[in-house]
Symmetry: C2
């Protein structure tokens, strides 16, 4: 007799993955080799925006393979991390990462929640989330608008590269639902999306800190990192921009190296970021 | 018989004014000595944002005593300037400035329009303005929110210091009415008003260029200069911040001196500003 569960004809081989080291090997991530957003500098910057001394609970929203959340968990020993992601393949990558010995020091403080951002409250609660409970949310939403993305990227279903037409609003709404009052939401995004980001923070958040990230000194920003506090009425501030590479060179500037390799806090290399 | 027009008891002496030199004396402004916003660095920066090679028509919206518009007219010989201001005292200051010999080189290219920003189209047309005709609009709206301004400033009726409750929206609506398609609106404002500014530009403008202005390198921005093009769909860019003073010092950095004293274009000292 055939056992249907073992039918080799029904087994879809998993897509190839890579194992990538972050923070000088303190974190090993498992990522699909192709067809999905692959984490890099943006992800590590987002994680570095959370201080190593932070405590409480943090949600990595739309976590993908979980690199940002894993980097936070590795650096901040007082933080419990939940990776919220809808795509099974990426959740499986995250689970595989948590099982790796290199991540054993912090894997016990990371859990997965398979959930679409548009899911209703009942599904959110069923996934183990709670309303107005998280101390921090971090997110790195898809970078390209559907109307500007290439057809090949669309056909590859590269979800993490494609911002759905509903835009950023579901991301901000989910974050506002999940955060406790005065909890911090930190976002990294394309610099040219600044207006949409500020509209997303909107009246729900205050004390916004805007950090432009520049490829090199003297060049326009390509990314922007923004933190806001839920329910706060404090003023917005624009920090001095953070350049990544030296002028005319390809190597990272020392403050960036410190975050990428040594796991330094963004607030260590850029004190005004301190909340 | 008494002549009512000459009745000295009915004559209100005009408030004291000062004559202030800008751009190393190429512009002499007449400003109320007290009780009103007094133009300074912000105003000259706003004027420097318009290139000396620009041509066509420019409106200085809520011009006050007209310093920004006068500085543009002095630098850009191909530009016709209209100062739009509602307060008679400030219009009189501007008219007095235009009559001064120091300003003779450009006074013929500057005219005044006594008009409230909230005036309807009929009044705007009667004041000599035209719909969708201007090549550029510049504005430096009042800086303080009514809920944060001090009582003394309120009682001094320091209009240029107090943003009315209706906020920035009437300013942007007027600018959008007055500008030709692809015409440029340039605004200088408090950096903490960034979200309101971007909302004001909104869908009516595109190709936004955001320049944070920092008191010193490494300090958060206190001002932001933003230019947008009416009807454009181009992306927003965030330029490297412009610091004013040297670290720990009170003197202006050389690029700022060049704009303040020599009348240099902002795009000369900060090439990415070039439109």
């Amino acid at each position: 007799l055939w056992d249907d569960d073992d039918d080799p004809a029904e087994e879809v081989p998993p897509p190839p993955v890579t194992v990538d080291a972050f923070l000088d090997g303190r974190v090993e991530a498992v990522q699909p080799a192709a067809g999905h957003h692959r984490s890099g500098l943006d992800t590590v910057l987002l994680a570095a925006a959370v201080g190593a001394g932070a405590s409480g609970t943090l949600i990595d929203l739309g976590a993908g393979a979980g690199v940002a959340g894993l980097c936070v968990a590795a650096r901040a020993r007082g933080i419990e991390v939940t990776l919220v992601e809808r795509e099974p393949l990426l959740l499986r990558c995250a689970a595989d990462a948590l099982a790796r010995p290199a991540n054993a020091a912090f894997a016990g403080r990371v859990r997965l929640a398979g959930l679409d951002l548009a899911a209703g409250e009942r599904e959110r609660l069923a996934a183990g989330l709670a309303r107005e409970a998280a101390d921090q949310v971090i997110m790195n939403p898809p970078f390209h608008r559907p109307d500007t993305v290439s057809v090949s990227a669309m056909s590859a279903r590269a979800d993490a590269h494609v911002l759905p037409e509903s835009g950023l609003e579901p991301w901000f709404r989910f974050a506002a639902w999940a955060l406790r009052p005065n909890g911090a939401l930190t976002v990294i995004f394309r610099a040219d999306g600044l207006a949409g980001l500020l509209a997303g923070f909107g009246d729900r958040f205050g004390t916004l800190t805007v950090l432009p990230v520049h490829p090199r000194p003297g060049q326009a920003a390509h990314r922007v990192l923004i933190r806001g506090r839920k329910g706060s009425r404090g003023p917005l501030s624009i920090l001095p921009g953070l350049p990544l590479h030296e002028e005319g060179g390809r190597s990272f500037l020392p403050p960036i190296e410190r975050m990428l390799r040594d796991g330094a806090d963004l607030a260590e290399v850029l004190p005004p970021w301190r909340s």
